[in-house]
Symmetry: D2
């Protein structure tokens, strides 16, 4: 089976693995009192500003949930898109761990709708309702789209005006930044993000994400939050050394750019096909398309990918489910060409 | 100010108060080891079947949340209408206390939509999603409507087919049953409810609701759930004696019927008015209507009630917010006539 | 059966009941937007200082737990006596609701031991341990003893020096203040309490306690904490009117003084008996004593009270369990004399 | 600095690293649907019986807490030694995540005292107290001691008689089994363990522990518990492949035996010294000893280890704090000799 199901189906980038190997030599202090962890935090500061403070956790769900726990009390709420990972794919972790409510908006292309967000603020008037305190966006979104600079500026202004913290689920923030052609620091500045879940696993790491606090006040209790929520690795150097290699030597951008390019290549190859309809602009490393059920079944014999929506949509032909095809740092041009050919033939 | 804001603006029915006074004589064992509590549970069994087991809590939010806690683990979910009290008016208690997620459907008239519920069951296939385990309905609904017998049968069948527990937020179940003209036992049988939050406060009690388990298995841990969640009154007789009077002597039905009748009277009086548009069928003790903003402002000078929705709705004239007018067990015919006259004049 | 098991076996003081009756007239706004609630808070300010802010909850467990939730995050801890109600008698509510850990000390007479408390502060050095943030004392204690002024001054100094908040479980604070012969304001000043769980139920109310914030910063989120944790009574006037009567007219002190005096009378009567050994100084409304098992069994045929400790204690004869005898606001002199006679005869 | 602070200061065993490297080739399904995960579970079944079911988590705290969550509701409690890791070193995770209370016993040598456990069972009689449901033991203990077969049989009988589940914190279970000279299956059988937190990180893995359910009923919900609590690694093969190498080829026993032997060597070398007093029997890979403060200070200049208890103990000379010296799979004989020499000279 050839796998395009998710960017976490890929293994580890060889440079990452080599960095881990080197970090493993000798005996060092546990729990992050080691040189790799210090170097990784320094790398974050270089990329995101001297105010930034980073903490490592195992996975994206933890980065999101513990980021939210740093910003929210149980009687407060985060507003997010209905399609957000924190709402759909974390088995209710935000509710169970933080105790908070998620308030859902339905924008286009996996994005939040600020008008809808604004309408939720009436809840603040009254103790019977949770208090909206955080806006959480996903960059790039679960639809593979990317908030543009203008959209980010609007979000920043909206949050400042309404005293909302901004959380960014950045499981694929590197893909988004690569697409926008800006630096991480620019993203931080333009968006006004308070806390970023900064992904690594989906872009070549073995495991590991960071919670990056751009608002240092919010991060004050994070060390104990992380420990209590079972995210403090004892042999921390095996996590932080990955980020040292990832951040210090441009690997993050190189990998993300490649994955994005492969998605664009795939898009370009299948866009002309009559039996393929793209669903969202391709702005990161995912291609969403609707195809006839029959074509999908043919493809599933040789390729592994997810059917995202079995239901019909009024804007598309009936009987054409939506599928998702993901590329990653080590998807080869040949693999994409092969898939594109197969899609063409499945029509 | 004349108050039609909510049925909890009313005081206590004199018979209830007298029952409490009598129960207060002498020294008795605390925490429910007293005769009133035993008598109240016996009354519940007479009305809802010998399988029924009732536990007293202070208020409706507690009945709902602790009922849900008896049915749900944090990684499971309850499906409910977006307008449900557990979703909108309990300050996120279900999420904070149970840790569970609420999955929202949007039916008509404040009811759940079974088709939408069915579509949520795909989540069960995969650990990334919460597991839908409970369907929660509100009877009568937050729109003052009542699920009919046919609807309840469908709900029962849907729950049985899909291995869902049925929770009924019955803060106003007495109003619903009075409207349907059936007994409480019939309601239990037809709906197949597993757990009912059985209200009292809104229908003449001073405070107090019951969690009634019709599925005894689910109630096994309830005594400790109640204690741990701060709902075990030491001087319990002052709660249970209210229910003895309420249930044993038909007061629940008498009060609910009166409140319903006053809502119907109000509806009949204002339906013919050109500047009033009713929003939902009047099936319990609430009348929802849209009126011109100006008329509402005039009325607010002498009457207290809630504007439920400031926004325009396509089905109604622009600039006509939605208001809610509630009657209760001690709303007099004269008060309703007076309000109806005022509405007529405000046009 | 004649009941000396607990002060919550008593009913409601007639003046309290009458105040509730009056408050019940007419229709008023719900959830505390009423005159009684405003008057009750004003009464608290008169008694405890203009900085004090009071919130009503249903019962003592809620006052304790929600007071702690206002002071603690889940990774922080409260230090308390092992015998404290929050540790032994609230079914783990602090752990379940706040998520925090309780750190136990073992002082004499149900009191905390400051030396032991000091030794716990090393935990602050390291994320592997919870962070001690609160000291919680019970006044009067679960042994019926009262912290004296000198002890309270030491506690205040200890908390200030070590940046600990002071929580007072004051389920019986009125009995303690009556014993000390000081005003409530003096108690607040001398102890430096940040938050007091201020009891009512055990001293003549039907139900209801207050969380009193003397440190206003800590109380900022309390309204939503209370709502989310199911402690916001809709018909609030029936709770606050009790406190108006209780606080405005000296009833709290009158009742507490009476209950204390009855305990002293009992103590005086049974102290000379050879088959009775008192366990703690009698400083509030409880008498703890050890008697031969046989004597206890005889008494239990006509009197209801608790055996607190079946086990032998080295300081007392073997086979003499410890019992607790409690008086309350309406324990009569005759009842005490009758009990004392029975104890004498049981020897 | 030469490090004897903890067994998690060591890096990764080369065979483990090589197994991870091989597992990293190619693209595979995420979240455990891969061959290494299947092989690892098969290995567990071979070692612990066909009933055993294993789930991988990142670290020991997670294995403990989520194991407890599988056994406990928030109103239930686990009994454990006061020195247990779940009580002292997990930043209150059990309380925060499970919501449960830990009930503490104080046995000798870091073990539970069954007599003290038995005395806690009275709590079951009454809703005011948490319900003891689990006994949690640590094998080997935090004092480096090991429950013997007779002790384990007593524990099994005690749990069966009293309807308690048995949880084993086995962060160092391999060291214990190596010491006892029995198989893992024998340990499971003799102890009657329901759930084992099975450690790997401290014995040569990079990261990763297992929750092993020997009572399959208890594990039914574990997949969602793990996901919701942020312990489901997407690139699971990098965790499970470690366990394949660890379990299939005897590496677990080889490493543990070596570490134990190095501790015994150290013990043998320092026991004769007048300025060293051993504190506990050396039965795994830790040596606890008391030395004069001055000797400790000298050693700390060249060696890293923890002072476990600064306070004096009546059984030892004053001014002799307790230190802990830990060996691991890659502690060399020369390192131990060097340390022993240094200790000898520090006297």
């Amino acid at each position: 089976m050839k796998i395009f199901a998710s960017d976490n189906n890929s293994g580890v980038h060889p440079r990452i693995f080599e960095a881990m190997r080197k970090a493993g030599e000798g005996r060092v202090q546990a729990y992050g009192d080691d040189e790799w962890t210090a170097r990784a935090d320094a790398a974050v500061k270089r990329l995101l500003g001297q105010n930034a403070r980073s903490w490592f956790v195992f996975l994206g769900t933890a980065a999101n949930v513990l980021g939210l726990q740093s910003m929210l009390k149980p009687w407060e709420a985060a507003i997010c898109a209905a399609s957000a990972h924190i709402n759909t794919d974390e088995c209710g972790a935000a509710e169970a761990v933080v105790g908070c409510k998620l308030l859902l908006t339905e924008g286009d292309n996996g994005k939040v709708c600020l008008d809808a967000c604004r309408k939720m603020l009436w809840m603040r008037s009254d103790v019977h309702h949770v208090y909206p305190r955080v806006l959480s966006i996903t960059q790039s979104t679960e639809c593979g789209t990317v908030y543009g600079l203008e959209e980010l500026r609007d979000i920043k202004e909206f949050c400042r005006e309404n005293d909302l913290y901004l959380h960014v689920d950045g499981a694929r923030i590197t893909n988004a930044v690569a697409h926008l052609g800006i630096s991480l620091a620019e993203f931080a500045e333009v968006s006004g993000a308070d806390v970023i879940s900064f992904g690594g696993t989906k872009n070549g790491l073995m495991f590991g994400e960071m919670v990056v606090f751009l608002n240092p006040e919010l991060g004050r209790d994070f060390p104990r939050i992380r420990k209590q929520n079972m995210q403090l690795l004892s042999k921390m150097r095996f996590l932080s050394s990955q980020f040292v290699e990832y951040l210090d030597n441009g690997l993050w951008l190189e990998n993300a750019t490649w994955a994005n390019n492969m998605a664009v290549l795939l898009r370009d190859r299948i866009t002309p096909l009559d039996h393929v309809k793209l669903c969202f602009p391709v702005q990161s490393n995912a291609v969403f398309a609707r195809l006839p059920r029959k074509a999908i079944d043919k493809l599933l014999q040789k390729y592994l990918f997810y059917i995202i929506d079995e239901a019909d949509s009024p804007a598309y032909p009936a009987g054409w489910p939506m599928i998702r095809l993901m590329t990653s740092f080590n998807t080869s041009r040949e693999e994409v060409e092969d898939l594109a050919d197969a899609i063409a033939k499945a029509g």
